[in-house]
């Protein structure tokens, strides 16, 4: 009983734009991280952070609209994220094999 009340009121009590704001902030943090760091792995992590910000937003909207499709969409995002990470890390390890470094500043042979 209490659970339901609590859960009912969760979405009611906190306006949707709070969630939008929160995810915007998280998203931005992710973006900044991508720009800020040089370590490729951490950059990946930051991309993941961005994706999660999106997930959060989607879920918020989903429960706002009481529509499950958004949550399903989140599944796909997770799948894609996993795939990307798998591939990305594979490439990274290959690069590491070749360069003994995953510092992205080293990865700027291609330019101009």
């Amino acid at each position: 009983m209490l659970k339901t009340v609590l859960l009912q009121s969760a979405i009611l009590s906190t306006p949707i734009d709070f969630y939008i704001l929160l995810s915007a902030v998280l998203f931005t943090i992710g973006v900044v991280g991508v720009m800020y760091r040089r370590n490729a792995i951490v950059i990946f992590a930051c991309v993941e952070l961005m994706l999660n910000a999106v997930n959060l937003l989607l879920v918020a909207f989903s429960s706002y609209h009481s529509d499950a499709s958004a949550q399903v969409f989140v599944f796909f995002i997770m799948a894609v994220a996993a795939a990307e990470v798998a591939v990305g890390l594979a490439i990274l390890s290959m690069i590491y094999r070749n360069l003994k470094s995953i510092d992205i500043d080293v990865l700027s042979k291609l330019k101009h």
Partner: protein, 628 residues
């Protein structure tokens, strides 16, 4: 006969074609003969035509050949016109032309360009005939430029000599300057009267506004200046003496240079109806006459002397035209054609004898060696000096009379000119034939009278220059002045001459007296006290030197026109075209390359930077599209 008019230019054309293609192979005799015969033939036809015109009541006959240029309202048929004026010119051209052809056979005999020479000569005659026969201004223009071309070819006949080539080029270009004026005149006529055929134009001529008429008259006159070597376009004529002497005789004395006169007489209506135009013509004519006479006095090259005398005579003619004495001008053209041709041919025979020497300071006492030449030239000299009863006397005095009537100042200038003329002609005469020989030894041995082919024309011309006056015995001598009567139908007289016979006699008296004085002076100076012209410039008096250098007119032109144009063009090419205009075009390319070099630096290869720029882009876009 009129129907056959087409033949007149045709014969020379045929001669030209034959000589042009086969001249080399035919050998000198034949090609010379063909050329001369061609001219002779057209002379005969011309005589016939003349007779017919003289006899028939209708004085103007038009013969249409084919339509040449058509552009809507601008219709230019290729058609010929025969009237008193053209018939007279026909006679002069073909007649004298024939004589000179004959002469040239002898004169050019040793030249390897013999057949080429006759080719050109025939072509020239053809164009000259076209000029006078044309029934509209454009045909005249065709002949006009054609003779210009021929004079170019003939002046530069000895094309290995750069001097001569330059002279030829100069002649052509200067003529072209005049021609532009002429062309614009024609176009203006077209736009004013809607046609350029003489008949239509003259019938409407009075309708045009005075300014337009003046403009037309002046533009045409510019053309005349070029062709007839008037100030300021006269400097080519003395240089044109580079050509073979017969050429000087035919083209640069007898015929081509008088084309200007022909044109003005032809369009006399414009001048009679425009006071300003005719005044300008008169003044320029007078000025030219005087100036070149002065220059003539100090020249030492026999042909140059004659050249300047030609210029000054032409000046006199324009003076006549300016004062409205059109028929007189034609009269003088005729007589001048006789004696000046004669003088040139004589000079030619002298040069021939002196084996190419032209400096009168190196001649002298040739009368024994060249009796016929001596005699004939003597007559010619008298004629040009205007001594009674030689032809020059009548024509020149008629001009002076008209000038006197019109404006005393003009008359005065005219008289001065004739004085100077008499002086330098006899100066030349004495220096050449009298006193003792001053040439080299082998020249002395080599002296000989010219062959028959040269002397016979001399004699014929001598007769003409003596008797030429008969064409226009003035009323004062109870003559009919046939020529002015003959030309009457095509000439609009401003005001019939009101000059009393007394004044006329008085003028003649003055003129003769003046001439005699001049001759006497010349005799004293050069015959009695054997004075020689300064052998080098240093000995000349300043003015003399100045005159000797033709008042530095050439230098003046070079300084004001030729050289600036050259520099300007160089600057235009080297700087403006290659640097500025092209530089701009190339510059675009350079700038693009440079920019490209700059922009590609953005491609740092650094992921961080890429993302950074992407983010900036996103920020900008969101800001611009949503928050603005």
């Amino acid at each position: 006969m009129i129907k056959l008019i087409g033949l007149i230019p045709l014969f020379p054309l045929i001669g030209f074609v034959i000589n042009g293609f086969f001249g080399k192979k035919m050998g000198k005799g034949l090609s010379g003969a063909i050329a001369s015969i061609a001219i002779l033939a057209s002379f005969c036809v011309a005589v016939g035509v003349f007779m017919e015109v003289n006899a028939s009541a209708t004085k103007t006959h038009v013969v249409d050949l084919f339509s040449w240029i058509n552009a809507d309202t601008l219709k230019i048929p290729f058609s010929f016109l025969v009237d008193p004026l053209s018939s007279i010119f026909l006679l002069i051209i073909t007649g004298i032309g024939f004589l000179i052809h004959i002469y040239s056979i002898g004169y050019m005999h040793h030249d390897e360009g013999f057949s080429r020479f006759f080719t050109y000569l025939n072509l020239f005659v053809f164009f000259m005939l076209l000029l006078v026969l044309g029934n509209n201004y454009l045909i005249m223009f065709v002949g006009w430029e054609g003779v210009g071309l021929c004079s170019y070819l003939l002046i530069g006949f000895w094309f290995k000599n750069t001097e001569y080539n330059n002279a030829a080029k100069k002649a052509f270009v200067m003529n072209r300057i005049g021609d532009l004026g002429f062309l614009l005149g024609i176009i203006l006529i077209f736009f004013t009267y809607g046609s350029i055929t003489y008949g239509d134009v003259f019938s409407k001529a009075h309708t045009g506004s005075s300014t337009v008429i003046t403009a037309i008259a002046l533009l045409l006159f510019v053309g005349a200046m070029g062709k007839s070597a008037q100030i300021p376009l006269y400097t080519w004529l003395p240089d044109a003496m580079a050509g073979p002497t017969p050429v000087s005789a035919l083209i640069h004395a007898a015929t081509m240079v008088t084309a200007g006169i022909y044109m003005v007489v032809r369009s006399n209506i414009f001048y009679t109806s425009s006071e300003d135009a005719s005044t300008i013509v008169a003044i320029i004519g007078a000025a030219t006459a005087l100036m070149s006479a002065i220059i003539g006095c100090v020249q030492t090259d026999i042909k140059k002397v004659l050249a300047y005398s030609t210029v000054s005579q032409l000046g006199l003619m324009f003076l006549a035209l300016g004062v409205g004495a059109f028929s007189t001008a034609v009269f003088h053209v005729t007589t001048h054609a006789f004696f000046k041709a004669l003088l040139f041919l004589g000079a030619g025979s002298v040069i021939h004898a002196m084996s190419g020497e032209q400096d009168i300071r190196k001649m002298g006492g040739l009368k024994k060696a060249l009796p016929i030449t001596y005699l004939t030239m003597g007559l010619a000299t008298l004629a040009i000096s205007g001594i009674f009863p030689f032809s020059g006397f009548f024509s020149k005095d008629e001009i002076l009379a008209f000038a006197y009537e019109e404006n005393k100042a003009l008359w005065f200038v005219g008289s001065i000119t004739s004085l100077l003329t008499a002086f330098y002609m006899f100066r030349m005469f004495f220096l050449t034939f009298h006193t003792s020989f001053r040439g080299t030894e082998e020249q002395k041995h080599h002296l000989h009278e010219s062959p028959k082919s040269m002397t016979i024309p001399l004699i014929i011309l001598a007769v003409l220059s003596v008797a030429g006056g008969l064409l226009g015995i003035p009323a004062a001598f109870h003559g009919s002045n046939w020529i002015s009567g003959y030309l009457n139908p095509i000439i609009i007289h401003k005001n019939p001459s009101t000059l009393s016979h007394e004044t006329e006699f008085m003028l003649m008296g003055i003129a003769t007296a003046v001439a005699l004085v001049a001759i006497y002076t010349a005799y004293n100076v050069y015959q009695k006290s054997k004075v020689l012209p300064a052998s080098s410039e240093k000995e000349m008096r300043p003015f003399e030197r100045f005159a000797y250098h033709k008042f530095k007119v050439d230098e003046f032109y070079a300084f004001t026109i030729t050289r600036p144009l050259d520099l300007f063009s160089k600057a235009l090419h080297k700087f403006f075209d290659n640097q500025l205009v092209d530089g701009f075009v190339e510059g675009v390319g350079v700038v693009v390359k440079w920019l490209s070099g700059v922009v590609r630096q953005l491609q740092t290869g650094n992921i961080g930077f890429y993302i950074f720029s992407m983010v900036l882009g996103i920020v900008a876009i969101i800001f611009w599209s949503i928050l603005k």
